[in-house]
Every structure is written in C-alpha cells, then in structure tokens.
Amino acid sequence: MRLFDAKTISTKLKMVILSTTLFAVVLVFIGFFIYERVTFRKITLNDIETKADIIAENINAALAFRDSTDAARVLSSMKSQRRIMSAAIYDQEGKLFAVYSRDGQQARFSERPGPDEVRYENDAIVLFKPVSVNGERIGTIHMRMDLLREKERFWSYIQIACIVLLGALGVAYFVATVLERNISLPILNLVAVAQKVSQQQDYSLRAVKTTNDETGILSDAFNDMLIQIQQRDATLQESEERYRYLFKNNPLPMWVFDSETLAFLEVNDAAINHYGYSREEFLHMTIKEIRPPEEVPRLLDDVRQHHRGHDAGSIWKHRKKDGTIIDVEITSHELLFGGREGKLVLANDITEKHRAIEALQRSEERYRTTLDSLQEGCQIIGFDYRYIYLNDVAAKQGRMPKEKLLGKTMMEVYPGIEHSPFFKDLQQCLDQRTPHHLENEFVYPDGSVGWFDLSIEPVPEGVFILSIDITKEKLQEKELKSYREHLEELVAERTKQLEASNKELESFSYSVSHDLRAPLRHVNGFVDLLLKHAADRLDEKSRRYLNTVASSAKEMGTLIDELLVFSRMARVEMHATEVDMGQIVNELLRRMEKDIEQRSIKWNIGLLPVVEGDLSLLRLVFQNLIENAVKYTRTRQQAHIEIGSSPRDNEVVVFVRDNGVGFNMEYKDKLFGVFQRLHSAVEFEGTGIGLANVRRIIQRHGGTVWAESEIDKGATFYFSIPKKKG
C-alpha cells in the first residue's frame, strides 16, 4: 500500500476514515444506479411492447386490406409519443409497408425486418414484433424508441451522488480529525520519547501515560523496557569498565592486534612502559616490528597455523624500542575487537627467568663436567645408600665399572661396608646433615687395602663424597715414619762419618802442609848447598840443571801452599760480620800502590754496598779479581779497570771489568776450576787457583760467579752475593 508509506499516523487514520466513507457512499450509489437502470429498462420495455401491441391491433385491418395510407395514419398517431423515434410496418412478404419518423425526416429502415426481438442499439431500443391475426402472421411491426430520458436521469443521479459524496466526505473528515487526535497523540508522545532516547542515549527518560488503552500499555511496556535497558546498560558499562581496567592496568604487557594486518589495535600501559613505545607509536605499528628480523618468518608461520583459537606458553624473542632483545612467554586468544578479527596477547617477560634457567642449566652442566673431569673421585649417595652419581675417578677408585655401581646400594656392592668407621660418618652425615672429613682405610673385596681422603658433604639428594686416593702418600708416610724413627741414628752415624772424614781431611792437609813441603825444602836447600859447595866444579849446564831443580821445587811449594789455602777455604769456619766491600777495595788498592806504580791504570770504582760475610774471605775474592785484572792488562798501554755493583732481586751483583787480553768464552767453564789456566805461565804467571778460591768463597756466601769476555777485548768478572738483611 504505497499510499500509507511515509505518512504520519494521523494522516493514515484520516485516509482510512475518508476512504472508508468514500467507498461506502460510492457503493450505495452504484447499487442505486444499477437498480434504477434495470427498473427503467423494464418499464421502457413494457412501454414499447404495449405500444407495439396497440399499433398491431390498429394496423390489422390496414394490413389485411393492404391499405398503406391507413397504416401510415395509424403510425402517425405516434406523434404524441415523443420517445418513439421511428416505426415501420413490414407486410407478409417482409416488404416495407408503412413507415413513421418522429422528426419527419426519412429514417433509414432496413429492407427486410430483423428477427423478432427487442434489442438495445446505441442509445435506442429496437423492436421487431409479428402482427398476427388469428394466429396468422400478416406482417411485422418495427419500432425504435430513444433512451434519452434514461441518460438524463443518469446524469442527474450522478450530480446528486457527487453532492452527497462531497457532503459525506466533509463530515467524515471532521469526524476523523477529532477521533484521530485521541488515538495518535499518545503514540506521537511515545515516538518523541523514543526518538529522544535513541538520539541522546538517555535511558532515564520515561514516556507519560495518558490513556488506559493499548497505547497506555505500550507506554508502560516501553518504560519497563527502558528500565531494563538502563539496568543492563549500567551493568554492561560496569563490566566493560572492569574489563577495561583489567586490561589497562594489567601488570603484564597486553595488546590486541588485527589478525589480518597484524597491526596493533590496542595496548595497555604495561606494554607501553615495558617496550618503550608510546601508545601512538604502537597503534601505527604491526607486531612484526617488536621482533628481531630473524624471528619474523617464524611469526608469520605461526600466525598462519594458529590463526584460530587459544595459544598459551609459547616463547618468543621480542625487541624493545631501545633494541634490547627480551624473551617473552605469549598467551593469546582470538577475539572480535571493534568488529575486526583480532587476537588478545598477554606477554610475560621471562628474560630474567630464562637467563636464570639457562645460567642454572649451564652451571649445572659445568658442575657436572667439572665433576666428571675432576682428578678426585666424586660420588653422590642417596638416602637409601644407593649410588646416584659417580665420576670415572670414583669408579676407578672403587675398582668397579660405573654401571655396576649406579643404582645399587653400597652394601650390595661392598658387603660389610656398613661396619666400617667410614659408614658411621656417612650415616651421621645423612641423618644430621653435618659435613665430615676423614682418612679412610678401605679394604677391597680381594683383601687389598687403599687409603682415601674423604670429604662427606650433605646435599639435597643425600651426601656428596669427594675422595682422594692417598694410598701412595700413606705408604710413603709409613716409610717416612720408619725413616724418621731411624733418622737420629742415621744422622748421628752420618755426622760421625762426616766428622771422621773431616778429621781425616784435616789431618791429610795437615800432613801435606808439614810433610809435603819438607822434602821440597830439602831439595831446594841441598841444591843450594850443592851449588855453593861445588861451585868451581860445576859447569854452566850442571848449574842450570840444578837451578831448574830448585825452581821446580819452589814452584811445587807454591802449588802446595795454594792448594792448602784452597782446601782451607772449604773447611775454614766463616765469621760473618758486616763487610764494607768499598772499604776492602780501597785498602787493597792502597796496598798495591807500590806494585803498580810503573803501570798506567785508570781506575773507575763505583759504589759498593755493605754485605754480610767473612771479611778475610771476601778480601781474598777482591784481591784475586783485582790482581787478575791488573795482571791481564799488563800488555795494555793504558789499562782500564772498573769495579762496580748493581742490585738484582735479593742480591747484589759485583763486577770487575778490565780492558785486558780477555779469554775465549769457549773455556769459560774451565775458568773457575782448580789449577785451570787459559794462559801459559810464560805469558802470565799464576797457578790457576785464584778463581777457584773466588768461586768457593762466593759459593760459601750463597752467591754465584761468572765471567764474560772476548779475546783481546777485556773481561768482566761477576759475582753475586745476598743483600744485607734488614
């Protein structure tokens, strides 16, 4: 009903009333008109047939006599009948016999009569009726009567109907307007409230109830609905508030992202704080951007596979704004967010936890590896005395393969172990959780014995035993103990031996001193006497021989003397005092002044420290070294002799350097040997004992001697001596 579209309810009501009225009036008129027309036509039909009958009565004779004038006179009597338009009489043969026309003009008549009937033709009724006499048809009467009267009546009817209709509609409109107001006003009120509610979203508005009819019920229902909506809205708002609060203030970072575009749709404060991006930055990013690039393919894979449903506990690497990579545990769930398919994500930063776990694993691995590779035996024994862990060393110490020990109790593997003192300590450690340390003698099943240093420490699984095989040490200790017991005897014996040998040595050197020199003296003396006594009898050659004998004897005397000195160096008691080495050198130089006055020697004496030592022995050292330097620079026009010292660790290194003939370093080992000479006696006199003495003295002082030289380029002799203490 297009008519009712987009019209107000009052219009609709009016339309209904007006159209109902219109319809009723029109219906009444149509009924009346139809009745009128049917009635009129019946009357007209009766009228025309009655007229025809009358004519027929009157025309009988004319026909019978074939008097057409009479017939025409009969027909012309129709003049008073204004409605008869025309009339005609056909004879027996159907030939037109007489005609009449109302307006005098020649009406058109058909040549032959139509069938007997009364029929409507255009605005007229046409009649063909037989004229019978005594039942014999003698002709046909034809009449045409107009219906103009009928038309006139119809039009006047229409006019009346229209006037009535207009009046009815006017009354109806007035009534409708009055009635409609009663019905539509409360509805309009309701509509206005509803519009206001929907526009302002204000569910506290109420419709005013004005009637008790259906509209009143509607108002009540509407108000009830509003109350319910208001309550539901409040509940919903509260619940939304609560969930928003939960999301916004959740201590864990949370966000929602679009499943299609992966863009962030919402983030909470914790995410902002944790990742360092502002809310605006987040909302312009996708979740790909908080990941290191290498994680992105995995992410895309995951998004494809886990498109639906719930995902909990997967671990990801995320990247903060500052570039820090963190490990997060992700819990996510599908949801609809603002009409888009999205995912709610809860990210738990487990970097620290992860690191701690990793560190723990590494540390555990490290400890295990450490234990495995330890040189000490390590084992962990459970509270049920079962072997939980052993390293290779422990298995080796126990002389059992690991596989035979692990999972077995100690008593199964080593029957009788429960009676050993070690086991008691182990039990104590298990029960009281106190550490123990002991040396344990372990008897193997085959009866052999091993010694172990055991540290027993309580650990959560039971006890940890660190075992060090000290069997070798124990045996050595035993041996050492027996040695120690005999040591005093041994020392006494050795001392005695040493004393004896020392004495022997002493008496040897004593005899040498006395007895070896005497014959030389005698040789020398008697040669001398012989030379004197037989002077005139000896030729030059004999005298030279005797002189050679004498000088050889004298030389041997010197050698013996020096040998004795040398041997005394080893035996003589050291008298340690503070010795100023600088002073020794000065004294020596003063003493030598006379001997070297012929020489041109440039001395360069550096600072020499005070040390602790034997004055006379150290003097001998310097004497030897300086005399050597003087001796071996004899061939130099200008001799340079430098004496100095430098500290080295806990010692002082003293050197004597000359620019003399030097020596071949090939022979440096021989330099300090007894009677070792690098020069012939003809070149440079000497016995080769001086440096041997130097070495012996320095060694007795706890130092070392060495020398550096090159032939013809001088030599440097060094000795080290401990620094003075304190």
Partner: protein, 151 residues
C-alpha cells in the same frame, strides 16, 4: 856457666836439622845449638833428665821448636814449658813447615814467642833462621837464669 849452649833445636828431621844448622852456621851460631830429635827428648833436656841428667843446668836462650815430631809433639812441649814456672820465661819460637791456622792459633794461645814458617826457598830459609838466631841468641836480652855463652 858461660860455655853453655844457648839454642835448643827440637827437630826430628835430620835434613831439616842439617839445613837449620847450616843456616845458623852462616852466622856462626851453629856451635851454640843443642839438637833434640823429638819432644820427649826436648823435655828431657829442659828438665835435665834422661840422657841430659848430667848436663849443666840452665835454660837455653831460645827454643826452636818443630811442631810435628814423634812421641811428644811441639804443641805438647810448648804447653809444658809455658805451664812450668821455671821454664815459662824461656822464649819459644815455633819453626815449622806448616802454615796451618789452627797451629798458629793454638801456639799463640799457649804463649809462643814467635811463629816462623820455614820457606821452601833455601836462601829465604837461611835468612829467616839466621835472623832468628841473631835476634834470640844475641840481640834479645834473655830472662835471668839463662845459660849464656860469653862473647
């Protein structure tokens, strides 16, 4: 008695005796030398006992004492002399081959008057011995009671 010999040479080695006497002879001191061959004999002489029972009493001007001698050694002789009131004034010169320190220390401790090491070189030996003889037998004024040969 002026004719008494005033040097006592205690020396077991005849060669040394000969050389010593030779050295002393260079300065005409040889005749004043009494030679004994060991410590015991030296003490016999000093105490006028044994084969010296009959000798003319009186102490020698000096005793030249070798240390290494059979029977009683030089140290023992020195000790006896220096512990004897009647002998301790007698000058004792140790004349020995040895340069051993312990001998030096011991003899000086016992109160030796001089310690001479016999040089290997004969001329030096002669020099040393003759100087000794001259010093002790002539230059040095002996303590009272010492037998002395008139000049």
């Amino acid at each position: 008695m002026n004719s008494l010999k005033s040097i006592l040479l205690a020396e077991d080695n005849p060669k040394d005796v000969e050389l010593t006497l030779e050295a002393l002879g260079e300065h005409n001191l040889a005749n004043d030398v009494v030679v004994v061959n060991d410590g015991a004999e030296a003490l016999d002489y000093l105490y006028c006992r044994g084969k010296y029972e009959t000798r003319t009493p009186g102490n020698p001007a000096v005793v030249l004492l070798d240390l290494k001698m059979p029977k009683v050694d030089g140290i023992q002789v020195l000790k006896t002399i220096k512990n004897d009131e009647s002998l301790k004034t007698v000058p004792v010169v140790v004349l020995t081959s040895s340069r051993e320190e312990r001998d030096l220390v011991e003899t000086y401790r016992l109160g030796v008057n001089a310690y001479v090491v016999k040089p290997v070189e004969f001329q030096e030996f002669v020099g040393a011995v003759s100087q000794l003889g001259i010093f002790w037998a002539i230059v040095n004024e002996p303590p009272p009671g010492t037998g002395r040969k008139p000049q």
